[in-house]
Amino acid sequence: MNLVTQPNDDSHSDCIAAVHVSRSFGKRTVLDDISLTVRKGEIFGLLGPSGSGKTTLVRLITGLDIPNGGTITLLGEKMPKLDILSRIGYMAQSDALYGELTAQENLEFFSALYGLRGTKLKSRIKEVAELVKLSDDLKKPVQLYSGGMKRRLSLAVALMHGPEVLVLDEPTVGIDPVLRKSIWDELDNLRRAGVTMLVTTHVMDEAEKCDRLAMIRDGKVIALGSPEQLKADSQASSMEDAFIAFRGGVA
């Protein structure tokens, strides 16, 4: 009877939804009619070469930018909306940290923006530092950190306020394989804890670790599905081959 307002089961578990989203800067179209949904509790990958529009999409989802066409819905609210920002954790592609401050001071600063303080803040810092294995280096100024340590600290910043959704822009870029694995193990743990994650990457073997992923090329979604499904559809044995089969690899 009430067909219009009846929510279907899919939209109910949708955490992030992009519907016909496009974004252009001047004459240059960066995103062209992108539609995708990220379900609650999954790790969703955005796979594509640099310049394919991943970061632009992430900026739209986090409300930093507004699409020229289409809508973005995050946790049931149309973006951009300021209140929603306190429920997501964002890790930018470049480490946005204050080099002259210590790691602890950085964590304290960013957590304060979400209203964390006092003993709760202290215990949370301890917890998160443990998680990203920086407990022994909290008192060091960040400018003395290595690239990998900065990356982990950025992840810690995003985790501090216990967000329901994590948006991670190239979380493992510039990190050695051992550390990369430990970060992905961590993301797995978070998924088990019920956190939804959107992860951008241009590394094929990372894409395999996602529950579902969208392949992006020149601002368009060229394929969408679980890694197994994508490989089966393209009759490829690896993600790399699958990407090329979907015309991702050829300009």
Partner: protein, 341 residues
């Protein structure tokens, strides 16, 4: 070969950075032009109020280059001078000429004395007549440094706060931390307010230090209240802070931030009273009144040299506060470029 390649690369970079190129070529022209206007009008005729003086005396004063305004009683003339409309009041006490000097500007004292002495010499035929002197402000012991110093106190507050605030806000943007801040529920105006508060503490410290150092250590005259000097310095720093952070939105790097110095900061020096404003054409005076430093310097000069109180400086304070609010609001708007809400 390598040198050539290097030079070529630099030329190419320069051509791509049109702004820096324009600054390098045009800014010196702008500054030179301003200086020409400013120094051209440097010789200002002193304005002398003549209290019941015989017409030959008035004519003689005029012949020697003074602007003479006759008055019937001394009170009115003195009031005009207190409002800085006159540089001196000349009257006769019996046969003895008596000059009361406004006294806050050393170069004006000199030119009044020059004109008066020449006129008296021509009238009496005797050289070296010493008129009796008195001063409205100070006692003629003010040197050029008192006059300039009171202005420079404000200028340095302004200049350094402008640069430091501008560069640090810029770095927030170039290091990506601004983007990161905007991905939190922080509102745009909260970012601007946070900067105001954080830097405000340091500008308060700086204002105190400068005000104390200039009056106690350098011995610049201070007739009025030290607290008012501090207050004006703080307002000036606030205007500089908001202007610096606002303009940093239009710079890509520290280098481009520095390019605002000759464009925004140096011209303000010309209008803050180091050079007599009355010697400038009207339109140029109007330009001066659109700049924050004009008001800060005006008030500081008043407080330090003439002992002005709140009643005299409230307009200047209001203007500076207005500038700060305007710049801060524009900055909140400029941040829209980075996040629309």
């Amino acid at each position: 070969m390598r040198i050539q390649a290097l030079a070529f690369r630099i030329v190419r970079q320069f051509i791509k950075d049109k702004r820096t190129l324009a600054l390098m070529l045009l800014a010196p022209l702008l500054v030179l032009t301003l200086m020409k206007f400013v120094f051209d009008g440097q010789a200002v005729d002193p304005r002398i109020g003549a209290v019941k003086l015989p017409s030959p005396v008035i004519e003689s004063l005029q012949k020697n280059g003074a602007v003479v305004i006759p008055y019937e009683d001394e009170r009115t003339a003195m009031d005009r001078m207190a409002e800085a409309e006159l540089d001196a009041v000349l009257s006769l006490k019996g046969l003895q000429p008596h000059i009361t000097l406004e006294g806050s500007n050393p170069s004006k004292i000199r030119s009044v004395m020059e004109v008066a002495q020449k006129a008296l010499q021509q009238l009496t035929g005797i050289s070296g007549i010493q008129p009796a002197l008195s001063y409205l402000h100070g006692s003629g012991d003010r040197d050029i440094f008192d006059y300039y110093g009171s202005v420079l106190v404000g200028f340095f507050s302004f200049f350094f706060v402008f640069l430091i605030a501008g560069v640090s806000f810029l770095r927030e943007r170039t290091t990506g931390t601004l983007q990161r801040l905007l991905a939190t529920p922080l509102r745009r105006w909260e970012i601007v307010a946070g900067y105001l508060l954080g830097f405000g503490l340091f500008t308060l410290l700086q204002a105190t230090l400068i005000a104390w150092y200039s009056t106690s250590v350098l011995g610049i005259a201070l007739e009025g209240s030290f607290l008012l000097v501090l207050f004006m310095n703080l307002l000036l720093a606030l205007a500089a802070l908001t202007l610096g952070t606002l303009l940093s939105a239009y710079a890509q790097n520290e280098f481009q931030m520095f390019q605002f110095i000759p464009l925004i900061v140096v011209p303000q020096i010309f209008f803050c009273g180091l050079i007599d404003l009355q010697s400038m054409p009207d339109w140029l005076q109007a330009v001066g009144k659109a700049l924050p430093l004009y008001y800060g310097a005006d008030a500081l000069r008043g407080i330090m040299l003439r002992g002005d109180g709140w009643r005299e400086i409230w307009i200047d304070s209001g203007a500076l506060l207005g500038f700060a609010v305007l710049f801060a609001s524009l900055n909140v708007l400029a941040l829209r470029k980075h996040r629309r809400i």
